[in-house]
């Protein structure tokens, strides 16, 4: 490895319903390093634990046991407030269901992370416009989510994920609800962000073809990493 890992997970486990008879061991000891600027795909069947892993990486959830450092920050010891800040500044989320705020236009949606980041109104507005141009939504900035197609919504969501210029983008099945054509458009956007801006991107997907486009494909099964291979997109 020529680069220092930006993200390092060791022996991560996650149990649900702890102490009850139906205690669930979703993650059984995950070791994973991700380098800065890497484009990684995580594949696995539903119930394999990949979404749970994604939540832990994204600081939305805490593991039951294990070590996790992100840019030299010990994420296990970090307080809730610090995790909020990390989510705001270091991580951009893209969801399968877009999760745009209803009745709020594209530009305000993109501004939202910047609002929590404490950016001034003018700066927020300028940057939101810039980002919407970047994802090809410059013409629809004032549109409400209800007025946008799935692909358009996802592009707004990607612009929103980019708002605070995070180093990492976590995309959970970003093309899962899109047809292959618009899915292609979204994937192209990720490639663009990866290549032009050097973002670290972690992509969860069902599709082997999409996974193949990344640099590294990690397979998860029953809460363990069962396979790791190089993808098709080597720099």
């Amino acid at each position: 490895m020529d680069k220092k890992p930006t993200m390092s997970l060791k022996g991560i486990t996650k149990n649900f319903f702890i102490g009850s008879p139906n205690e669930l061991h979703v993650l059984k000891g995950i070791d994973l390093d991700v380098n800065e600027g890497e484009f990684v795909a995580i594949v696995g069947q539903s119930g394999s634990g990949k979404s749970t892993l994604m939540n832990i990486i994204g600081a939305l959830d805490r593991p039951t046991a294990g070590e996790y450092t992100l840019d030299d920050v010990d994420m296990i010891k970090a307080k809730d407030g610090e995790l909020s800040k990390i989510r705001n500044q270091k991580i951009g989320f893209v969801f399968q269901t877009y999760n745009l705020i209803a009745k709020t236009n594209a530009i305000k949606n993109v501004e939202m992370p910047m609002l929590y980041g404490g950016m001034s109104a003018r700066k927020r507005n300028d940057r939101a416009k810039e980002l919407l141009e970047l994802v090809g939504m410059g013409e629809r900035m004032k549109h409400l989510p209800e007025e946008l197609s799935g692909g358009q919504k996802q592009r707004v969501a990607i612009a929103r994920a980019m708002a605070m210029d995070p180093s990492i983008i976590l995309a959970d099945e970003p093309t899962g609800a899109l047809d292959s054509e618009t899915g292609r458009l979204v994937m192209d956007l990720f490639h663009k962000l990866h290549e032009e801006q050097g973002k670290t991107i972690i992509l969860i997907t069902h599709s082997p073809e999409l996974a193949e486009e990344t640099q590294r494909v990690i397979t998860i099964k029953d809460g363990l990493i069962t396979g790791e291979r190089e993808g098709g997109a080597q720099l």
Partner: protein, 429 residues
């Protein structure tokens, strides 16, 4: 910056759910509106009553017969409202205050007394002339009555000494009577003869003077101006003759400016009760107008407070409504809350967002309530014929109070939102 964004957000969500927001606000609107309306009316009525009673003579002392209590007890102020009202039911002429008593009294306390206002009611009746009529109550009055009531004769004159002595059939009527009977200038009525019918009797008087009638503000009158009953003043002696009664159940003393009316009321009471020590049923009560004003203001004050408490309960119910709708709102917006958290919103921001929303609902409700309340208060006050005085303090208090309701009833739902688990919130369908 964040606050502005939160207010904008809250307004957005209100506009998005207009009907719901309005229904939620209704409790607050009704609560605040009733508080403000009651305060406005209460204020203006109290103000008007105090003013007019004071203008009737703050230094008047009213002396009246009062039925003795079984245990010889009376209220602190010496006025017993409940039983005092029965004084006319079976009072005998022998029990009444005599002219001799009053003369002795005036002699003894000449230094403190300006005038004695004593009157003898002849009864309520009607002046008639063909189709024309005017309702009057006929009152034989001493000159002191005009001093005590602050009544001004606007045309003609007062009774002369001679007329008083001779018990002449002369009268001073209100301008209402002039309007009803003579349809014209007050001057035209002077010297005219009128016939007043009281029960099956009738009396003829010559008008010597006209006074300007002022509606007393604490008597709510629903009769039209035309049917209004005004006092027809005749000389005291005339009244006594017509009523076949030389004694008094009540009279008023106008004290000198330097006399303390409250103190003098006590002295007066003692003086007259000396005559009534042996009387089985009756005693004398004396009180100053100033103490009446106090009693009235206290009564109005507690009435206002009591109604305000009821309105306060309406506000409480309104607040619970707000809490309820906030809980619905955060449940509906669970995914939004999860998304905001994923985008880096700290718990405190989420909490503030929903508390601000709750405050905005309450304050808008409060403002609508104030507008409605002031309007209703002014209309009511007008209807009662008192000048409306919406109190600024109650408006400021209402705004503050509705904000407090917003914080109080918004905190629990907002805190619930703030503590949501982001993953569960994001998964919420």
């Amino acid at each position: 910056m964040m606050l502005y964004e939160n207010i904008r957000l809250a307004l957005f969500s209100l506009v998005a759910n207009k009907m719901r927001a309005l229904l939620t606000m209704l409790g607050i609107i009704i609560g605040i509106a009733s508080v403000i309306a009651i305060m406005t009316v209460g204020n203006s009525v109290t103000q008007e009553m105090t003013d007019s009673m004071a203008s009737l003579g703050a230094n008047n002392v009213t002396v009246m017969l009062q039925q003795k209590e079984e245990e010889e007890e009376s209220t602190k102020e010496g006025v017993s409202f409940g039983r005092g009202s029965r004084r006319n039911s079976n009072v005998q002429e022998a029990d009444m205050i005599t002219k001799e008593m009053i003369n002795e009294y005036v002699e003894k306390y000449a230094d403190s007394i300006t005038a004695i206002s004593a009157s003898q009611s002849v009864g309520q009746g009607q002046i008639k002339d063909g189709n024309l009529y005017a309702n009057v109550s006929i009152s034989g009055s001493s000159t002191g009555v005009f001093v005590a009531d602050d009544t001004e004769v606007v045309a003609g004159r007062f009774f002369t000494e001679r007329e008083m002595e001779d018990a002449s059939m002369v009268a001073i009527v209100s301008d209402t009577v002039v309007t009803n009977m003579f349809k014209g200038e007050n001057e035209n009525a002077i010297g005219k003869e009128i016939t007043a019918y009281v029960g099956d009797r009738f009396y003829k008087f010559v008008i010597v003077g006209v006074y300007e009638y002022e509606q007393s503000p604490y008597m709510i009158s629903t009769t039209s101006d035309k049917d209004k009953e005004t006092t027809l003043y005749i000389p005291l002696k005339t009244g006594q003759n017509l009523a076949h009664n030389e004694n008094f159940a009540t009279f008023t003393v106008v004290t000198k400016a330097e006399t303390d009316p409250d103190e003098f009321a006590k002295t007066t009471k003692q003086f007259f009760n000396a005559y009534y020590r042996k009387n089985r049923n009756w005693q004398i009560s004396a009180f100053s107008m100033a103490s009446m004003v106090d009693i009235m203001s206290t009564m109005m004050g507690s009435l206002t407070t009591a109604i305000s408490v009821i309105a306060g309960i309406a506000l409480l119910v309104g607040g619970i409504g707000v809490m309820n709708i906030m809980l619905v709102s955060i449940t509906e917006r669970t995914r939004e809350i999860g998304t905001r958290k994923a985008l880096g919103a700290p718990n405190s921001s989420i909490r503030v967002q929903f508390i601000v929303e709750s405050i905005v609902i309450c304050v808008i409700g409060g403002i609508i309530g104030i507008i409605l309340g002031v309007t209703a208060g002014i209309l009511l006050a007008n209807w009662l014929g008192t000048p409306a005085s919406p109190s600024l303090s109650s408006i400021v208090m209402s705004i503050t109070f509705s904000m407090a309701i917003g914080v109080f009833f918004g905190y629990y739902p907002a805190n619930k939102a703030a503590k949501m688990d982001p993953i569960e919130a994001l998964r919420y369908e």
